[in-house]
């Protein structure tokens, strides 16, 4: 049965669309393992209600779209695990703002999806609960940290998925799973209900195989929310029409250390863009330092954010037969993974009084330099372009050092450090060809959806 939704776009009924997605989950999620929880009953009930509203002409702007949500975003009454033993059986007691907005727009939330523990990882292998595989090649990683978001989209289990992006966690799995990935301007989408990794870098983003769907989801979830002060400028700023894109800048630093095959593909795509835009090579010298600036800033904020997981209030239960400090420290040791401990330790060290000036303060000063360099370049450039990831998805078990892992983020993290919006687009139907990435100006997110 074909029905019309309020946007006058012909589509299958909400129920039919949902059934197709549930069939894909039933067929493939046994091996892909994208989902932590499937909200089968609730989503079927919602689909029926939405179909009724479509019929009555009262449906919301996302009527019938099936959406998966990264499991570090709260859905009331459902497990919020952050893929950690610390929160394995924790149930969220309220909806995140983005979830409220999706529900109000008549989207259907089909379930929660896997991630690297507390969103700390670049390939999806740091989940303490399950290993998500890349549906395009089961021997390869799906990308992280929004591993389940990328995999569920690629396997046709949903129309779009929400993820969180602190250093590229939406864009990396999108690139590895050959989908579109979008990180909005910092402060555009409310983080109320998002388990924080690093408060000055986190932003909720979207993955989809359809850029138009991604834009529709963005239009629903964005905007000022009094429960997240960082969104206070969003409504006023987003009303302004972005400047027309005329000049695209290509930072030469974006191609350093990138696989030849991917660099060639991105350059070819940029060559095509020259037919419609003026393309200029530019230089942003601090891009060479993105990994250390990011790792230090993120670790400092992360170690602070993690202090609330103490085994006493909720989550993993601490031993009660000992004094407070010991039970607290033992619970954290037992329930947190290796990468989490590593980041907490670095973050604690660089913010200790005796070491702060040399490390954390210096990283924040370096971040200011990067911000100024970006602002200066963006005076004459509308959009920046370059590769999204330096490599394609690697195989499970491939030996990588911790530094190599951290360096995989090198092209995405500048958008978080500077708060700019960024979108990634697959270069071909083969995920091994990589993806191109565009950075825009603050609050000119819409311009990124119109580059062609």
């Amino acid at each position: 049965m074909i029905m019309k939704n309020p946007n006058h776009q012909p589509t299958a009924s909400a129920e039919e669309n949902l059934h197709r997605k549930l069939e894909a989950i039933d067929k493939r999620d046994g091996e892909v393992k994208a989902f932590i929880e499937v909200y089968r009953e609730e989503s079927l009930k919602k689909a029926k209600e939405v179909d009724k509203r479509i019929k009555d002409g009262k449906a919301g702007p996302l009527a019938g779209l099936v959406i998966a949500v990264k499991n570090n975003i709260t859905v009331k009454g459902k497990r919020l695990t952050c893929a950690s033993k610390m929160l394995e059986n924790h149930r969220a007691v309220y909806d995140a703002t983005v979830v409220e907005r999706l529900n109000a727009a008549d989207a259907i939330i089909v379930g929660s999806v896997n991630l690297d523990e507390f969103a700390c990882g670049v390939d999806g292998t740091y989940s303490a609960l399950q290993r998500t595989k890349n549906p395009l090649d089961l021997e390869r990683v799906p990308g992280g940290s929004s591993a389940g978001s990328g995999a569920s989209v690629a396997a046709g289990m949903c129309d779009a998925a929400l993820g969180s992006d602190t250093g590229g966690s939406v864009r990396c799995p999108a690139a590895f799973c050959n989908a579109y990935g979008f990180k909005p301007t910092y402060g555009t989408v409310s983080r109320y209900g998002l388990a924080d990794l690093a408060m000055s870098l986190d932003q909720i983003g979207i993955i989809s195989k359809d850029k138009a769907v991604m834009k529709r989801v963005f239009e629903v979830i964005r905007g000022t929310d009094p429960r997240d002060q960082t969104t206070q400028l969003a409504d006023a700023m987003l009303k302004k029409k972005p400047a027309e894109t005329k000049v695209i800048g290509v930072p030469k630093e974006f191609f350093e250390g990138v696989d030849k095959h991917i660099a060639t593909g991105v350059k070819k795509r940029i060559k095509e863009l020259e037919k419609r835009y003026e393309v200029r090579e530019v230089s942003i010298p601090t891009l060479k330092y993105t990994v250390p600036i990011y790792q230090l800033t993120m670790a400092a904020e992360f170690s602070s954010a993690m202090q609330k997981y103490d085994g006493l209030r909720y989550g993993f239960a601490a031993e009660r037969n000992e004094e407070l400090y010991t039970s607290f420290a033992k619970a954290r040791d037992a329930a947190l993974g290796k990468e989490i401990k590593r980041r907490i330790m670095i973050g604690t060290y660089i913010t200790m009084k005796e070491f702060k000036d040399a490390w954390y303060s210096q990283a924040l000063k370096a971040r200011e330099v990067m911000k100024e360099e970006f602002a200066s370049v963006m005076k004459s450039i509308d959009i920046l372009a370059g590769p999204a990831m330096p490599t394609g998805p690697w195989k499970f078990g491939e030996k990588m050092t911790q530094l190599e892992m951290y360096a995989a983020d090198m092209l995405t993290i500048a958008a978080n450090l500077t708060g700019t919006p960024a979108i990634i687009e697959p270069l071909s139907s083969d995920f091994k060809d990589g993806a191109i990435q565009f950075y825009g100006r603050h609050f000119e997110d819409d311009a990124l959806f119109h580059i062609d």
Partner: protein, 98 residues
């Protein structure tokens, strides 16, 4: 970085780590921080003063008016269910004062 410093950091971080974990973290932190040291070469910003960038936008601390909202008893119950140890009404924690 020496083992004693790493041990001290783990205490501040509230992580009770095994000897093996401490040994491994000492070498990893040494290696990682050795690479991150390059940020100390970056010259301060062009504006001449060494400003620290905490946020990307100029935000004001927006205060909200206090308002009394009656909590839904179901909500209270769901929060209570998440306590790791409870006497039914209250969250219980280990003794913190000896």
């Amino acid at each position: 970085m020496d083992a004693a410093t790493v041990k001290k950091i783990s205490e501040v971080a509230r992580l009770q780590l095994s000897e093996e974990e401490l040994r491994q973290l000492t070498s990893e932190m040494d290696e990682l921080l050795g690479h991150f040291k390059v940020i100390q070469d970056i010259k301060p910003s062009k504006s001449g003063h060494a400003k620290e960038s905490h946020y990307m936008h100029d935000l004001k601390n927006a205060m909200r008016d206090d308002s009394v909202v009656k909590c839904d008893p179901k909500q209270t119950e769901s929060i209570r269910k998440e306590f790791t140890k409870s006497d039914g009404k209250h969250l219980t924690a280990p003794k913190s004062i000896k």
